[in-house]
């Protein structure tokens, strides 16, 4: 399969997801994935509530064009309200991104359960269109 990651027009997206939202350990994606027109990096979290505003902003300040957090559906968090807290934090960071004129939509939340590898890849691919509209992250290439 052709690796399109070298294409400068492909938005670089980081996907952090709750490990409880995937069907099994075999379906978990870790690290860079560049197939099917993607330039993505996947990282699993023990719970989506592990997202901290500072971490999210650092990922974007390091040049990622987009950041997608995948959480469990409402009411299905293994830790009761972890995904609710994650959503609140994400909304907070989105408001901060707006004040910085970076575009709130660089950070988004999706929900899902029993996700398979192909579902995670699809979620990442679905972000490519909106991120292309936003344009490249001005921080791109700024960090070593």
């Amino acid at each position: 399969m052709k690796d399109s990651s070298s294409s400068g027009s492909t938005p670089r997206i980081v996907v952090v997801y709750c490990r409880n939202a995937v069907a099994s350990a075999a379906e978990m994606l870790e690290g860079p994935h560049t197939q099917k027109g993607l330039n993505a990096y996947f990282a699993a979290l023990p719970c989506s509530s592990k997202v901290e505003p500072s971490y999210l902003l650092k990922i974007l300040a390091d040049g990622a064009d987009g950041l997608l957090v995948v959480a469990c559906p409402e009411g299905k968090c293994r830790f009761m309200v972890g995904n609710v807290r994650a959503e609140k934090r994400i909304n907070y960071v989105r408001s901060l991104l707006d004040t910085a004129n970076m575009g709130a939509d660089r950070l988004t939340l999706e929900r899902g359960e029993k996700l398979k590898e192909k579902d995670l890849l699809k979620l990442a691919q679905d972000r490519l269109g909106p991120l292309k509209i936003l344009g490249p992250n001005p921080m791109k290439g700024d960090r070593k």
Binding site: L57, A61, T99, A100, N101, P138, M139, D142
Partner: protein, 223 residues
């Protein structure tokens, strides 16, 4: 604790014009407790500032450092190693900490990253409410543990006013308890309502900011 709130980001972006190496300095005490200036907030503001400035075509190098306290000289000294490498400091401490940093490092521009707003308590997660006005003439013993200076919208020494709602809320905000209603209820519960009949004379405001900058001296503690 002393509470503070972030200044609007555009305000910080504006004051940092012309600066290229900036230190965002936090304080791990009060402003950390109110989620305005602790390590988390410092590490949140730093990348945000970097991005906001980059969006305007300005590249700056942002460093971070969070002190245990910015209002104690011993802790402020920890900045001495990093300050020579920056041309501006954005302090997320309260006004006391910001001034301590500015006094210790007078050659560097020091900007407040927060507005210090009150002496407050964390009532519940994400909610802080003013509890003390540092008035210098505490009456909590007479008011059953409720401060009418900080918690009454009119700072009435002899309340309540006529604006208490039937549900015990203040006329200025339906979510705000009327503190004089609370004082009365606690007095009633203790069977001491008659104590509230005493008219409290005007307070001695000279022992707070109204008497000029407050200066407290303990000769036994001085060098």
């Amino acid at each position: 604790m002393i509470i503070a709130e972030w200044k609007p980001l555009p305000e910080l972006v504006e004051v940092l014009k012309g600066h290229t190496n900036v230190l965002v300095a936090g304080c791990a005490t009060c402003v950390a407790e109110c989620a305005a200036g602790g390590e988390r907030e410092v590490e949140t503001l730093a990348p945000l500032l970097t991005m906001a400035l980059k969006k305007e075509g300005r590249s700056i190098n942002v460093r971070t450092k969070t002190l245990e306290r910015q209002c104690e000289w011993e802790f402020v000294e920890e900045l001495a190693a990093v300050v020579p490498k920056v041309d501006a400091i954005v302090s997320l401490a309260c006004g006391i900490g910001i001034q301590a940093v500015a006094e210790r490092f007078p050659d560097v521009a020091v900007y407040p990253g927060v507005n210090t707003t009150a002496l407050a308590i964390r009532q519940e997660p994400g909610l802080w409410i003013a509890r003390c006005a540092a008035c210098g003439d505490c009456v909590l013993g007479e008011t059953f543990g409720f401060c009418p200076v900080a918690r009454c919208a009119k700072s009435l020494s002899n309340g309540p006013c006529g604006g208490t709602r039937k549900n015990g809320k203040c006329e200025i905000d339906e979510n705000l308890d009327c503190v004089w209603y609370q004082i009365f209820e606690r007095a009633k519960a203790r069977g001491k309502v008659e104590q509230l009949l005493k008219v409290r004379k005007p307070k001695n405001w000279s022992n707070s900011g109204h008497g000029g900058p407050k200066r407290m001296v303990r000769e036994d503690l001085r060098p």
